[in-house]
Symmetry: D2
Subunit: 319 residues, 4 copies
């Protein structure tokens, strides 16, 4: 059975990647990297994890463990410094390798791009052995907009996106303090978010992207506004007709966080505003699922020749 | 001292109007109308209310109580059926009298418009004795957009709005059930919300308006996207330079619900998206304050010749 | 393969029971009863449900569908009126058949008890073909207290319990309105909750039980206070040593909702208060999982001779 | 007019104290201390604060500013190191000076007690010029229990308390991360919380005290269980008959957070559990109001001979 290592296993993305691997029939976890938890048992991360998992080791050791697939769940600075082994599939969940243009990559991440493919399977299948896993906001925006990209007026596209707090990671910062988040709501990083150039790169043009912080633990919803003369619903239904993970909802049904939380699925709703003729495409997903760990495992599955959705959660609890 | 009556005093809007009147130095509450609580003391609504208030009476009796100002906090059907006394100022917090065009009023509310003025004091001062109090979403959108109306391309304006659950009233409905609202988020009534024609009427053109339901008790934030060649910040700062209730925030400061909850103030932030040249105007307010009861009392104050902000909450607790 | 019918499939308990059956390898859903949704496809309940499920039928028809196991997810009044078929296992998720003493049953539910066993598998295995599924609060309190029942001073036991809003069902009521629940917290039904006599019946003595409403969607936590001279931890660890669903946590680890939400597991923590010598036993579970649908399916599995945890969720997502 | 200085003005307690002073008719803020914000204008803390306030200065300078009353809103380590001026009233909102017994103070705070009085005005009026302001949990427990202290069996008193996240301060810690707090609930510091010895000191005996973390921004509710032969309601109503801030609710009305949030009031409900004869006293307050800043200003008012409730919020918004 192919083997897997996780670097940065104690962050949200790492822990969720582990969750998928624990339910994966064809991948064995052989190394859990975490500099802060090195030496501890897996139960130090979550009391539900038991003795069948290896102890945490330093990230460096996890990288050198000889795994067939390595998940980088590190900050982009740490990811940029990793020297990938020649014989492994590497999926980078950070932003370090997403931007291909050197000037753009330098501006937003202070890194130099390498030979990494961008892996958003339904739209941009991963290739080679090094995969940059998309950002959570970028995933939602691209799922909503790529099938329409040739049919819209680029100058007028707006992506108004809202994410739960886990999108900002487990790191302690004032904007993730519950005293700020609870009963609150606000936009942030307007005109200055790293997912904007990522969306532009994959879409072929810039859009106006504004993220907001929701008082929820997990889940992301992007409301996208476009002017198009084409049948957006038909284009989207066609694009995802064979997908197990991306559902275009029936007319009149709105995406909502509750149906995608804890899953690796995405929901898309398509609407028309009669008064202005604007088409509204709404995409909901779990920022830690299809927006991070679920997509990372999906990318790994594809490059390793495994079942695309092995280990993934297609649906959550119903209520 | 002028006297006031509230019809529908047991709903959210009525209760919040009462809150303002209780702190109002120049208005005396003489009648609390509520068909469901008629005969009960005010404490039946909220245990904090004490014996100095009159008992609840049927709405019909509150209307006939001879008050100088009457607040209609009823459903629009009930408001439309009210016969206003000749000698009183009447402020209607429902939507029944907001739309002036007969065809539009009929389509959205099944009512015929009468001689009601639209009262959003900073932009459209109330006139006469009958005032239609604006909708909460319309208030936020108009505060953000009216000062820019002559300087934007109407075809491209988007209003992406998000409101806490109290905006939907105290009535029991499945979309207000906490099992639906908590840890959830979704758009609703896309292309079909009554505040859209209200915005269009006051703005002079239609915009694309999409409301969303936030998992918070109170507070509303509208993110507005416009294309303009003018200095939006200067126009907005100029429009609200003398206002006690509407604050244009300094550059880089984003509006947030926490600073407006429980108040009758509104916050406006102005931003530019460098990648697309889009101007983003964000307005936050409390849907029950500036979006309902606070504005109603403000309108009443103006028509009665009282201090405009008497009884209002200019600021909340700081944290 | 044995077949299953759900009556009241459109409520929370019914929908969650369906969720377990959809993942059950050895039970086939043959009838979905719902008087309000009769005639509709399963997608009318949740858009994620697809065409492989039968359409909704009236509850009466679901009862008569000849299923091997019937789940009653009805109000207790409706459940009490059901005439169980002779040849089926029936699991009643309502409270109608939980109280065995005629006077007590009459006082709390206005029903007469029948030949129903009480099924809390780890403590009171179901017997016969008619099973009363325990209440959510009762499950938590009994899991915490039954192993200690012979070793505590009955007069001093306190159960301070807190539940998410889904515990009150999907029915619309003012105490489930999000405008009441959000950012709020309060006790309710003090000295008057139906789960108190249920706890007393199974424990053998009355305890002081006070429920509170938490501003969360799902999850229940009971903090139980007892005076005992015995080693409570040893008694509890012994009681659940072989259970897949009930975990006694290591010393110093506190139960929390996040680890049990969306699962059919329960967590128990045991603590000592040095200042007073009080033993504190904390039990957390999902009110819709181990507290309702999960336990119902567990009871059905046992009576049908299936794997006890078939269809259940032993663990949720990790973060 | 007497003058006031706040040390640690940028934390939650400091900011809320400032909020009360801004509405105080008889106290003038002359110094805002904050080592992290020294040199900044008040708007750096909250954009609603304007130019009439002094700039932030180092805490040391605020202490030396010659104010008539000094509020210490610092960590207990920092507070313990402050040398109080001879001629000022000093109110310490930290725990540094709450415990009078040297061994107890050393064990819980590693400090030596000084000549500080304990100021919980309704029960223990402040005296002298140095006042230790009570802890939030201690305030709720003492308000509920002190009037009954002579009439209960000490061995059986349980205080099950629940607090919003602002009780833990603005400091960044993993237990205040919104990803942990949202949709979650758990007890913490069982048998190890510093408010337990404080409650014991003022009550005269130890009680079993267990705090829990609620997913709300502000508000605290303590459910207290006692065995008593006396009329608890009468004792409590008598104790607070003349208080403007502490309300004993009518029979059958339960305290709830929503009515005390943003205020300096406390609500007390009294109930009997028929099955066991236990008396349940529930106290709700705002942990930042009556539980911190409100009580601090109340203590200062008393020692300065001002109106006891000057600057306080007796009630919040109604809904």
């Amino acid at each position: 059975m192919p083997t897997a290592a996780i670097l940065g296993a104690s962050g949200y993305a790492g822990q969720e990647t582990l969750d998928r691997l624990l339910r994966h029939p064809d991948l064995e976890v052989v190394a859990l990297g975490s500099d802060s938890l090195a030496g501890e048992t897996a139960a130090a991360l979550d009391v539900r994890l038991n003795g069948s998992l290896p102890r945490f080791v330093p990230n460096e050791d996890a990288l050198a463990a000889g795994a067939d697939v390595i998940f980088l769940c590190l900050s982009h600075e740490r990811s940029a410094a990793v020297e990938p082994p020649d014989d492994a599939v590497v999926v980078d969940l950070s932003g370090a390798h997403r931007l291909a243009d050197p000037a753009v990559a330098h501006r937003w991440y202070s890194v130099a791009p390498g030979a990494w493919s961008y892996g958003l399977p339904e739209l941009f299948p991963p290739a080679g052995t090094l995969v940059a896993n998309p950002g959570c906001y970028a995933t939602a925006a691209l799922l909503a907009l790529v099938p329409l990209a040739g049919a819209v007026d680029p100058a007028t596209v707006v992506v108004d996106a809202k994410s739960g707090v886990s999108g900002a990671g487990r790191e302690l910062k004032s904007s993730s303090h519950a005293g700020f988040v609870l009963e609150n709501f606000s936009p942030y990083a307007i005109g200055a978010h790293r997912h904007a150039p990522e969306i532009a790169q994959q879409l072929g043009f810039s859009v106006c992207f504004v993220p907001h912080l929701l008082p929820v633990r997990r889940g992301l919803l992007a409301t996208c506004y476009v002017q198009t003369g084409e049948d957006a619903r038909a284009l989207l239904e066609d694009a995802y007709a064979t997908s197990d993970l991306v559902r275009v909802l029936p007319e009149g049904v709105t995406p909502e966080l509750a149906r995608v939380q804890g899953t690796d699925a995405a929901e898309i709703g398509v609407f028309e505003d009669g008064a202005t003729g604007t088409t509204i495409v709404v995409c909901a997903l779990d920022n830690l699922g299809k927006g991070a760990a679920g997509q990372a495992v999906q990318n790994a599955n594809l490059l390793l020749g495994l079942d695309e959705s092995a280990g993934l959660r297609l649906s959550g609890v119903l209520v």
